[in-house]
């Protein structure tokens, strides 16, 4: 819906047809613009890649072809020279085997003259003494053979080998194969045979197997060119300053003894050393020739590419034209639609995406038509409804205003209520604090009381112990009296014993008197006995004295005991008095203890009471705080209610305004919808 609206509003300009015309071109151009660069780039890249690949491949191929060609040439030269050398060596071996005399040697050599077309003079020889041996028919004129190059070279070997090239007496460049004839003769002979460079030149100049390639032969010993297509260069020497880049380059290569294939001033140059010689075969080909094919290939590729570009652009144009054709019909319909004409009929011909698009546009036009007529209908109804709502909203505005006032009053009342509740809460909190203090104090009193109970209990226990101690003292005193009484009895017995001893002493004294009397009667004979009797009498007297003393002492002891007994009795009496006093004190302590105990119980009960009061006070405080909070909430609520009432008032004002606006809008809408042509269909 929204998209379709947008599209219709977007294209509903005065210059719609022009824009449409431009668009038709643009699709084609756009396709071309986006596809052609890609096609171009692809073709160019393909051409580049293939040219680069072809270049390097061609180069490689040319190089290997050149190398193959030069190897072949080199092998040919070698084989040709080897063939001749073997021919000469066979002749020399024959000479060595035959060991001919001078004349015989001349005959022998004559037999071979003309047998080898490459060496028309055949084999010839010279001795150190200066004798020259030449076969008959040979055209050779040598004045001083020992000074010739071939002779000197020949002296350096027995096996025949080629020496350096030189100009012979006829002014022709030749190379000589020479070697010592080992025939055992004293006059040392050297056999030699010449081959002209013509044959080698033919191999070098015409034996090139690669088209457009050229070759030349150089002696690396002295850098002399032995064969070259340009005959003026033959027998000249290579120099680094040569204007020919190949000749200069080859000079460098020989100097470095590096015979790898190389590039020199636009030429590919290959080298091959000819075995058993100091010769270097050089073969070269201009890169342009190698690349000629590559250039042609690139040209063809470019042409094909260009053709492809043209064909592709034509194809794209044709295809786009065909594809776009049905779209232009649809575009016309859309243009009509954009100018508000929904009376059009869309014809559908094709069955592809574009056909489906036309079909959908047709459907769209139908549904738009229906929709527009219902919108028209609806907008009129809407206008009436919005007028109604305008009235309703005005009523609502009034109602909400009065509600706002009521709300403000309520708010005021709640405000006061909140203040009152807050006061209650504060008082309850204070009460709670006081009760808490009281509880703390009574707890302290309870503790002190408990301490007092403990102390009094201890005092009573001490008292009991004291009473027990008193009893102990009394018993001890009684025992003491008993003991003392026993002592008194014992001293009475002692007195009796002492009296008895006194009696014994008296009798003894009497006996001694009797004895002394008897002794005196006995006269002299009883004299001794008289002495004893006297002594016994003394002893008895002493005993009587002691008994008297003892009696006196015992009397003293008895007196003392009597004193002790009277004193013990006195202390027993005082102990008895003390015990009675202690018992009284104990009774008093018990009384005190019981009194304190009951006081403590009372205090405990008081504490429980206080705790209960404390809890209640706390509850009261909490409840009154909650109440205060609730009151605040109520206050807040009533405040917001006031605000809401105010905003309702404002809103109802807005609603009133909006419904007024709505009424106007619906009028405008009705006007717009009536612009669309739909009634034609209806009529």
């Amino acid at each position: 819906m929204a998209r379709q609206k947008k599209r219709s509003s977007g294209t509903s300009g005065s210059s719609g047809s022009k824009i449409n015309g431009k668009r038709e071109k643009k699709i084609k151009d756009k396709l071309l613009q986006s596809i052609m660069p890609a096609v171009l780039v692809t073709i160019v890249v393909l051409v580049l890649i293939s040219s680069v690949l072809t270049r390097s491949r061609m180069h490689e191929m040319a190089q290997s072809e050149l190398e193959a060609s030069i190897t072949n040439q080199s092998d040919n030269i070698e084989a040709w020279m080897q063939e001749n050398l073997e021919n000469f060596s066979t002749i020399k071996t024959t000479i060595e085997a035959v060991k001919p005399s001078d004349d015989e040697l001349a005959d022998l050599l004559s037999a071979y003259v003309g047998t080898n077309s490459n060496s028309p003079n055949g084999v010839y020889a010279a001795s150190q003494s200066g004798k020259l041996y030449v076969g008959e028919g040979a055209e050779l004129s040598v004045s001083d053979p020992t000074s010739t190059e071939w002779f000197k070279q020949g002296l350096t070997r027995v096996d025949m080998a080629y020496g350096e090239a030189y100009k012979n007496s006829d002014g022709v460049y030749v190379i000589s194969a020479s070697g010592i004839i080992n025939d055992g003769s004293d006059d040392l002979k050297v056999a030699a045979a010449d081959v002209t460079l013509d044959k080698i030149s033919i191999i070098v100049n015409s034996g090139v197997k690669m088209k457009h390639a050229s070759s030349f032969l150089v002696n690396t010993d002295d850098n002399m060119i032995l064969a070259h297509r340009d005959s003026s260069l033959v027998s000249t020497t290579l120099s680094p300053g040569s204007s020919d880049p190949v000749l200069a380059g080859v000079y460098e290569k020989i100097a470095n003894a590096d015979y790898s294939t190389d590039q020199m001033g636009g030429y590919t140059v290959a080298f091959s050393e000819v075995s058993n010689t100091d010769w270097l075969l050089v073969s070269y080909i201009e890169n342009k020739i190698i690349m000629a094919n590559v250039t042609r290939l690139i040209l063809i590729l470019l042409l094909v590419g260009l053709l492809a570009v043209i064909i592709i652009s034509i194809l794209i144009r044709l295809i786009v034209d065909r594809v776009i054709k049905p779209i232009s019909a649809i575009t016309e319909n859309i243009s009509a639609m954009s100018s508000g004409d929904f009376t059009i009929e869309v014809s559908n011909t094709s069955n592809d995406e574009i056909g489906r698009m036309g079909e959908q546009v047709g459907k769209f036009v139908g549904s738009m038509r229906n929709m527009l007529s219902s919108i028209n209908h609806e907008s009129e109804r809407l206008k009436i409804q919005s007028d109604n709502s305008d009235t309703v909203s005005r009523n609502m505005y009034d109602a909400s205003q009065s509600q706002e006032e009521a709300m403000e009053n309520l708010n005021h009342t709640v405000d006061e209520l909140a203040i009152a509740v807050n006061e209650i809460a504060e008082n309850a909190t204070t009460l709670k604090m006081v009760v808490s203090d009281t509880k703390a104090n009574s707890d302290k009193a309870s503790e002190s009381m408990k301490e007092t109970v403990d102390i009094s209990q201890k005092g009573r226990a001490d008292m009991e112990r004291l009473s027990e101690a008193m009893d102990g003292i009394r018993l001890a005193n009684d025992e003491l009296v008993t003991s003392i009484n026993k002592v008194g009895k014992a001293s009475d017995e002692i007195t009796n014993i002492v009296d008895m001893i006194g009696d014994i002493a008296e009798e003894t004294n009497l006996l001694s008197l009797n004895a002394s009397i008897e002794a005196a009667r006995a006269g002299e004979a009883g004299r001794g006995f008289a002495v004893v009797a006297t002594e016994i009498g003394g002893l008895a007297n002493n005993s009587a004295d002691s008994v008297n003393n003892i009696s006196a002492l015992i009397d003293q002891v008895r007196g003392l005991i009597d004193d002790v007994v009277s004193q013990a009795n006195a202390s027993a009496r005082s102990i008895q008095e003390n015990s009675e006093l202690i018992a009284t004190a104990m009774q008093t302590f018990d009384q005190i203890f019981q009194n304190i105990q009951s006081t403590s119980d009372v205090i405990d009960e008081m504490i429980i009471g206080v705790s209960k009061v404390d809890d209640v006070a706390a509850n009261v405080a909490a409840i009154s705080e909650q109440q205060a909070a609730s009151a605040d909430e109520i206050l807040e609520t009533s405040r917001s209610m006031v605000e809401q009432a105010q905003s309702i008032t404002a809103s109802s004002q807005d609603v009133a305004d909006n419904s007024h606006e709505l009424a106007e809008t619906s009028q405008t809408l009705t006007g717009y919808v009536q612009q669309f042509k739909i009634k034609k269909e209806d009529e």
């Binding site: 150190q128 002296l155 350096t156 070997r157 027995v158 096996d159 010592i180 080992n182 004293d186 040392l188 003894a257 075995s275 058993n276």
Partner: protein, 326 residues
């Protein structure tokens, strides 16, 4: 900033560890641990025995399991040995070919297995960098050493007359050694006149015969270059017979054979160039390890520009150091 520094540090640490791990793997001795290499060789002679012993000892220090096959001159046997290396899960083959022209056939049998040819050189175009390689000594070196010694010995004259006794025609030793001698003098601006230059076919007898023929040309000579010791010994014998003083006219050879060294000790030959069997054996194993582990011989000493050949230098042997080679 700090974060970046931390990150950088972390990355650097990782990089460092990685580098350490890689370098550690590549550089340390015993890098061939766990590798299995087959050694195929020609029938043993003195030189090949030395080469084989050097190969075995290098293999053991590098921690390589080296399986030495019995030396054979038969191409078929060598082909079979290489076939068994392919089926036996070897990592590389070191091969002293019985015939240097069979390289292509051996390579075809080996397939993906790298072959390091030693001592006997196949044609260069049959070598493949990092795959089918050659370890050997550059023939030219021997000639260059000879010429260098002789020129110094003669007091660097501006011209000299010299004799060259070459090996067999077409042999790589013949061509390389001879041309190096000639080139040395040419490069140093010495006018060297090779008054006699012929093939001695490695033989002392042929060399002696040709020397006698040369003597009949009655030319003076300052030095005798021989492509090998055997020919040099033959020449020394002839020279002594004809009263030439070999201490004044240097005779030089190549190979440092036992007889050659003895000749130097006895005052016959003056110089020989030693083709290091130890060096070739060592580099053979090292090249095989490099190919088996890294797939590349890069970084090996003596590797040529094409990466196909590892050159083991010849060593000059004179009276002063001949003891080390006897």
């Amino acid at each position: 900033m700090r974060n970046i520094t931390k990150k950088t540090g972390f990355l650097l640490a990782i990089a460092l560890i990685a580098v350490c791990v890689f370098v550690g793997c590549g550089d340390k001795g015993g890098s061939g641990a766990g590798l299995k290499i087959m050694y195929v060789t020609n029938t043993l002679d003195d030189y090949r025995t030395l080469l084989q012993e050097a190969t075995i000892s290098t293999a053991s220090t590098e921690g390589v399991t080296l399986d030495v096959q019995e030396g054979t001159s038969s191409v078929d046997d060598q082909v079979n040995q290489i076939k068994s290396a392919v089926s036996g899960g070897y990592d590389a083959i070191i091969c002293l070919m019985s015939d240097s022209s069979t390289a292509l056939q051996l390579e075809a049998v080996a397939g993906d297995l790298p072959i390091v040819f030693v001592n006997s050189m196949p044609s260069e175009d049959q070598l493949d960098a990092d795959k089918y390689m050659y370890v050997g000594s550059q023939e030219r070196d021997a000639g260059t050493f000879q010429a260098e010694y002789v020129w110094d010995k003669l007091g660097k004259p501006s011209s000299l007359n010299a004799l060259i006794f070459m090996g067999e025609p077409g042999h790589s030793g013949t061509i390389g050694r001879t041309s190096a001698v000639k080139d040395y003098f040419k490069d140093n601006g010495v006018n060297a006149d090779f008054v006699f230059c012929d093939y001695g076919n490695w033989s002392d007898e042929i060399a002696a015969d040709k020397f006698n023929i040369f003597l009949r040309t009655k030319q003076d000579f300052d030095a005798v270059f021989c492509n090998n010791d055997t020919m040099a010994i033959g020449i020394v014998k002839e020279m002594k017979k004809h009263g030439f003083d070999t201490s004044k006219i240097p005779v030089v050879g190549v190979d440092a054979t036992a007889a050659g060294c003895q000749s130097i000790v006895d005052g016959g030959m003056q110089f020989t160039a030693y083709q290091s069997a130890a060096g070739q054996g060592e580099m053979g194993i090292k090249t095989a390890i490099a190919l088996a582990t890294k797939g590349s011989a890069k970084g090996l000493e003596g590797l040529n520009d094409e990466g196909t050949i590892v050159w083991v230098p010849f060593e000059p042997v004179t009276a002063s150091n001949v003891k080390d080679y006897q």
